[in-house]
């Protein structure tokens, strides 16, 4: 085990896959010489050269389209979209082309590619550089959607995404880039579609993703220590495939479900989970399902406003206490 930052784990995951498979190539804006605007891909150009690590013009449609064309003809591209907000600029390529091509061609075309992107709030960048948009991707059939919360998961899930034969959107939470954690040395590959239970308690099951996992863990600590409410915390890690079995079995044990989502309220991923739990383990519930989300607003930029908008440890504690006490 080595201690790596979340951003170093990105480079480590890409490097691991590029070293083992010549067909893996990497492209994006400012990713090669500059090492990425978040410095998540430093060193890859030196290690693998300009043929495999390529800087692109500010042309998101060209970047994602090129990744698609390369994937259907034998390469395994990793494309970076600098901010997840910019996915909207190339959403046709992702939602209409990449997601649907295998199905529409009846399996003739395979698209083994990964689109990495920096997602979410915490940097005071405002409404066009701080959105959490993982639920956009979840709504489109044909896309796998991954969002790691820890450096080890960044490396392991990124490796799994590259090896996956289907298109994967890989959401890196940008305020986690400097977070440190233990990452397995050597070749490390995780599995898509496996949630992790990070903490167990008898009173309530909290399901969270990416940055919200850390806030949920912080809240669970306070709830147990100060208020005697013991929570299970599940890190979903991927929205598609969705590990419903882990959610259902943990909710059955506690009788309570709380989702903590960074995405705005309407059609956030927690709504889908709430629906599944209501359908499939309603009689195990001891109370209403609770969703804690960002309000349904564009994200404001000032620190005070942004902090008050994204679910915080304090808000999670308060809302759970109000429902459970």
């Amino acid at each position: 085990m080595a201690e790596l930052t979340y951003r170093d784990a990105v480079a480590a995951g890409i490097a691991q896959e590029m070293a083992r498979d010549e067909s893996v190539v990497f492209l994006g804006e400012d990713v090669a010489h500059a090492g990425g605007v978040f410095k998540a891909t430093v060193g890859l150009l030196d290690k693998f050269g300009p043929k495999r690590v390529r800087d692109c013009p500010i042309s998101e449609q060209a970047i994602i389209g090129a990744a698609m064309g390369a994937a259907m003809t034998g390469l395994k591209p990793i494309a970076e979209i600098m901010f997840s907000d910019f996915l909207a600029v190339c959403w046709d390529m992702i939602a209409n082309e990449i997601a649907k091509t295998r199905y529409m061609t009846n399996g003739q075309i395979a698209l083994p590619l990964v689109i990495r992107t920096a997602n979410g709030a915490g940097s005071r960048f405002g409404a066009q550089h701080s959105q959490a948009v993982e639920n956009w991707a979840m709504a489109v059939p044909g896309l796998k959607v991954v969002a790691p919360a820890f450096p080890a998961d960044v490396k392991g899930l990124l490796a799994a995404a590259v090896r996956d034969p289907d298109p994967v959107l890989f959401f890196e939470q940008k305020s986690l880039y400097s977070m440190k954690g233990e990452v397995p040395d050597g070749e490390y590959v995780d599995q898509l579609g496996k949630a992790k239970v990070l903490r167990r308690g008898k009173d309530c099951t909290i399901v969270a993703l990416a940055l919200m996992v850390h806030r949920a863990l912080g809240a669970a600590e306070i709830l147990e220590r100060e208020h005697g409410i013991a929570c299970t915390v599940i890190d979903l890690r991927s929205l598609v495939p969705l590990d419903t079995q882990t959610i259902l079995s943990e909710v059955a044990k506690t009788g309570r479900l709380v989702t903590v989502e960074e995405n705005p309220r309407l059609c956030g991923w927690g709504a889908e989970i709430a629906s599944i739990v209501a359908d499939e383990c309603f009689w195990d519930l001891d109370g209403p399902i609770m969703r804690i989300t960002t309000p349904h607003i564009p994200l404001p930029s000032a620190d005070a406003l942004e902090d008050a908008t994204i679910p915080s440890v304090e808000r999670i504690v308060r809302e759970i206490r109000e429902k459970i006490d």
């Binding site: 190539v25 043929k51 390529r54 692109c56 013009p57 042309s59 449609q61 060209a62 970047i63 994602i64 389209g65 090129a66 990744a67 698609m68 064309g69 390369a70 994937a71 259907m72 003809t73 034998g74 390469l75 591209p77 046709d92 390529m93 209409n96 082309e97 091509t101 295998r102 199905y103 529409m104 061609t105 009846n106 399996g107 003739q108 075309i109 395979a110 083994p112 059939p141 044909g142 034969p165 289907d166 579609g193 598609v240 495939p241 969705l242 590990d243 419903t244 079995q245 599944i276």
Partner: protein
Amino acid sequence: MEAKVKGKKAVAAGDDIGRETRLALYRLQLELRYCEKRAYDLFLQNLVKGTSHLSLGQEGIAAAFGVAMRPDDWTFCTYRGHAHTLARGASMTGVLGELMGRECGLLGGKGGSMHLTDVTKGAMGSYAIIGAHLPVAAGAAWSAQYRGTEQVAVCFFGDGTTNIGAFHEALNFSVVWKLPVIFVCENNLYMEYTPISAVTAVEHPAADRASAYNLEKVVVDGNDADEVYLTAVKYMNRARKGGGPALIEAMTYRHSGHSRADPAKYRPEGELEKWLKRDPINIYRERLVKLGVADATLKDIESDTMRKVDEATAAAKASSPPSLDVIEKQVWADGGAAWRN
């Protein structure tokens, strides 16, 4: 228009196209014409559902590239893609079957007219969102360049595509990366219902933009299969050797409306008639006769081709609708559609 003149000169001066290639060009143009007309007949019989965008009048371009391309080259085309898909050798039964929503369809009934694809023939898809496939073709060309295979990606699109962002992104990207991709604008004078000249800043919507991407201006007569063929060979050979992309604007005209819903009433009187006199297939037949090809040889090709279309029609009609079992198949590479455990 200098390039156009050059092409005509080349044809007039005698070229190395050769009899066999010319007969192949004639046969393929006919095949595309007869099959497309059949698609229209089947639509009138309510056997072709959804929409369909016919290439009647534009066959010279698809046929010329179809003959000029290497079997392992890649075609990317638009929703007006029946001809380009057939031109790569895709099964006619598969094409007609797909239009009719039958099991024998190229896509098993999952894609329809606008998404014809046959990867085994290098027909890498018909794309129904304007402009999307230009970057995709660039990506395929990148893959060829990366692997050193000397394959070329050819990307066909209409004049309307030149006003969407992806066109410009793909051109810049491909030139900067020196990719082996040929962009072919089929300028049929109308974006959909609106004349392209009414909505475009330049006279030649593709070729007049070429200089912005450090490409030469190439305009050819798209209704002259020989001229398109020679141009295709020239630029594909250059691309294979690392010379980078080309942008070719082929002037042509669609004989029918934009789609099955369009009677094309917006066309000025006499315009269609003028272009019908420049029908690429008639032009080609006359040339072959002038070059000494016996009328009987041409008639044989014509009756052979009609028989092929009739047989394909019968086979497609005989095919069943797809089994409902396929609905939740092939979302993922494991063959299924599961999004949860």
